[in-house]
């Protein structure tokens, strides 16, 4: 884990709300190594999602640099950013954001369509991805015929469609019960191991934090502190305790 996957240098981002300029990020620095799983925690409005949007190339900073896999995103034009998202990034959202009129497999095929993958290859790759997230029996189901956990698994399969090197999750477990949340995190752990991907999550959920290599607390638009190993251990312990509760050990 010596290579840098993501580097944010003195990043600032402001939003205009009418006449008022609202600072979202105010000089943030962050480094994430390849293959790492990192959680960003912090109160609402602290700039977590803004950071994720910048790293994912959905937006560009007003100041500073975002470098992903050696590419400086702040210099990219709109079309190039889109191409970057298509090839390098997989997104998972809190509310899954599946296209409601498309079946599970069609949803997974969408990013491959954008990348120009031929229809047959698209179908077989999408089938393989759905199998790898354990949804081989749900291939032709529509989103509203699936549970939240299943929908989020489809979203994971979709995020992996173009073999990205970076997987970004905005509250990926935010709409899931703890059992589904843990299953999702196990899945992502396996995915990371198989594909040597970098995972960055914005989250409130101790279940996610407990399964991260590192976690950062963000406040007022900059990294306030990195959670200590002890903090993470505590989270894991409380998580184990929680699991044991669920499993009826105590």
């Amino acid at each position: 884990m010596s290579e840098l996957a993501v580097q944010a240098i003195d990043v600032a981002k402001f939003y205009r709300r009418g006449k008022v300029t609202v600072p979202a990020l105010t000089g943030l620095d962050l480094e994430v190594m390849k293959g790492e799983t990192v959680s960003i925690i912090g109160p609402s409005g602290s700039g977590k999602t803004t950071l994720l949007n910048l790293v994912g190339g959905l937006d560009v900073p007003n100041r500073g640099k975002i470098v992903v896999d050696g590419t400086d995103l702040s210099n990219l034009k709109d079309g190039e950013l889109t191409k970057f998202r298509l090839q390098k990034v997989g997104f998972i959202f809190q509310f899954y954001n599946l296209i409601p009129t498309l079946s599970a497999i069609e949803n997974v095929e969408v990013p491959m369509t954008f990348a120009g993958v031929p229809a047959e290859e698209r179908r077989s790759r999408a089938e393989g991805l759905l199998r790898s997230v354990g949804l081989q029996d749900r291939i032709s189901h529509m989103p509203d015929e699936m549970s939240g956990g299943e929908q989020q698994r489809v979203a994971v399969a979709r995020a992996l469609a173009n073999n990205p090197s970076l997987l970004l999750g905005d509250e990926p477990t935010g709409d899931l019960d703890s059992k589904s949340a843990k299953a999702l995190m196990e899945l992502l752990k396996a995915v990371r191991k198989d594909r040597k991907m970098t995972l960055i999550f914005v989250t409130h959920d101790p279940i996610v934090v407990a399964r991260s290599d590192r976690a950062f607390a963000i406040r007022d638009g900059r990294i306030a502190h990195e959670l200590s190993g002890k903090d993470l251990q505590n989270a894991r312990r409380s998580d184990e305790y929680d699991s044991a509760m669920v499993e009826g050990v105590y």
Partner: protein
């Protein structure tokens, strides 16, 4: 005009035959009708004649004989051999024997309520002895028509000769008016349709803001979003166009039977009983019109989709994803 003009016209060079007619209104068994007095001897050599469906035409021998239209016959529950009272008002009149029933080629309008009697009888009923209202003239050849018409107009004062081609011109002027009327209605409908597509597409793009944001996050280029929504607008236009020609074709099938479809057609019955619309409205479905309908639908749909699609393609993914 005076009935004696008929012989004057007969003497004009190029005239094949002339036949007088007196048009008036009268009452048959208390029912208002259009009364036509004709000269049975010359009528069918000048006009296309009447289509007798029952009985026979008027005989040249005169007497109180009458021809009634088939719809009038069924309305009054009379037929060949029936005796009816014909007079200038609903109360009085003389007895006439129905000798024949004819098909005027229409089931509504003046044609459907027409009766024919010998000219002399019509003059008596209308109280216009020796008078006629029209004289039908047939020229020897089609080339003679305008010369004959000019000769009639110049040699007989107070008479205006109208040729069937000028009647046809009146007819085509009427049909031109109808065409521009329907064109305007069509344009208004197109505008309304375009507005409908714009509205639908704006609704659709704003309802699907988050979806658009998601697609952009997944790597959809602006052009892809633009194409997606333009295709949707095109599809709406295509479906609208197809539905339009289907309804239009259905109306085209139904309309002639509602207005009475003359087998002879409208043009050939100009000047005959009932006038211009005796043959009813005729409709035609042409490949050009069908194609035009669908093409216009697609073009208007696509054009109307441009702005909403462009708006969708320009959406900021961050804003769009935040949209609930």
């Amino acid at each position: 005009m005076d009935e004696s003009l008929v012989s004057n016209i007969d003497n004009i060079t190029g005239v094949y035959a002339a036949s007088p007619q007196l048009t008036s209104t009268a009452y048959v068994d208390g029912d208002t009708v259009f009364l036509y007095g004709i000269d049975p001897a010359t009528y069918s050599s000048v006009t296309n004649g009447l289509t007798i469906v029952n009985g026979s035409g008027l005989s040249a021998s005169g007497g109180n004989q009458i021809l009634v239209s088939n719809s009038l016959a069924s309305n009054l529950d009379i037929g060949v051999g029936s005796t009816v009272t014909v007079g200038p008002n609903s109360t009085g009149g003389s007895s006439y024997t129905v000798t024949g029933v004819f098909n005027p080629g229409t089931s509504f309008g003046p044609g459907a309520r027409s009766v024919y009697v010998p000219l002399a009888n019509a003059q008596t009923i209308a109280g216009k002895d020796g008078k006629v209202t029209e004289i039908y003239v047939k020229a020897n050849t089609a080339d003679d028509i305008s010369t004959v018409a000019a000769a009639i107009t110049s040699s007989i004062s107070g008479v205006n000769a109208v040729t069937s081609s000028s009647l046809a011109a009146t007819g085509s002027a009427l049909s031109d008016t109808l065409t521009s009327f329907f064109t305007i209605i069509g344009l208004v409908a197109l505008m309304a349709g375009a507005f409908g597509v714009v509205n639908t597409m704006m609704m659709s793009t704003s309802e699907r803001t988050r979806e658009i944001g998601t697609l952009k996050a997944l790597g959809a280029q602006r052009g892809t979003i633009l194409k997606t929504f333009l295709s949707e607008a095109l599809l709406i236009g295509l479906i609208g166009g197809l539905a339009g020609i289907t309804v239009g074709a259905a109306i085209s099938f139904v309309l002639p039977s509602l207005t009475g479809s003359g087998a002879a057609g409208a043009v050939s019955s100009f000047g005959g009983p009932g006038g211009l619309l005796r043959g009813g409205l005729q409709t035609s479905i042409t490949a050009t019109n069908l194609l035009l309908g669908v093409t216009l639908g697609v073009i208007v749909g696509t054009l109307a989709g441009i702005y909403p699609a462009w708006r969708a393609s320009k959406m900021d993914p961050v804003e769009a994803l935040r949209h609930v």
